[in-house]
């Protein structure tokens, strides 16, 4: 694997881009979960 990545360095760039992308997605999922919880609480209040 390390040997492959050493010979195909574009894949390292790809992995780094995907890591950042997954971090941003994780943040968005967290915000989505918090909004869903708010909606639940609002429904309960009604």
């Amino acid at each position: 694997m390390v040997e492959f990545l050493n010979q195909n360095q574009m894949f390292i760039v790809l992995i780094i881009t995907l890591l950042i992308w997954s971090g941003i997605i994780l943040l968005l999922v967290r915000i989505d979960t918090r909004i869903a919880q708010i909606e639940k609480r609002l429904k309960k209040d009604e």
């Binding site: 360095q9 780094i16 890591l19 971090g23």
Partner: protein, 234 residues
Amino acid sequence: MKIIKYLSIACITCVIVAGIAIPMVPQPHSWLEFPVIPGLEDKARNIFFHVPVAWASVLGFLVALYYGFRYLRSKDLDDDLKSVSSAGLGTMFCVLATVTGSLWAKFNWGSFWNWDPRETSIFILLLIYGAYFALRSALGSDEVRARLSAVYSILAGLTAPFFIFIMPRIVGGLHPGAKGDTAGSTPVAQLHMSPNMRFIFFMGIIGFSLLFVWLLNMRIRVARIEYHLSKNEN
């Protein structure tokens, strides 16, 4: 906010496409070619992603400092919500910068972690902000929590520029820009890149800064609603 949102998406999309698709050649003749940077080769493209993420984390810590300071002056809990949302986002970007930097280190320096000054300083920053969230979760009263974490975020925010910009430059190390580094620093740390690389790099910095503003805005709005809901329930 709409403009910020679309501009950040546009900038980051351009950076991803240009940063990956533009070929690297030894002697570039057009704007659509990057020069090969000796020692980095294709890995040099990581500059477009790794550095803007680290920049966004500094932005997060500085904005947390600013709102911490504002809280101490205004005693408005809304400023505390802004400060903690920003510190959370900064920590998230800091983790991403650490992980991406560590992966890059594996292929440039030989191992994932080398205790280089830059790595050590980002590790200390992560510890500082880990302690910040531990402190917040340990305190019950809203006012006490807000006051203590405002003071903490100011102290932590003041150390962030030192750990990111100063400390790694005054000590010798592996990272570009370290003291005594002549070979690796020119294209990267001193921004002596070719004009097209520099353009894409700054587009990445602007794109991630705008993304930070957009994400921060969303987090603050959600935190504000959560706070008002819990207040109404009590």
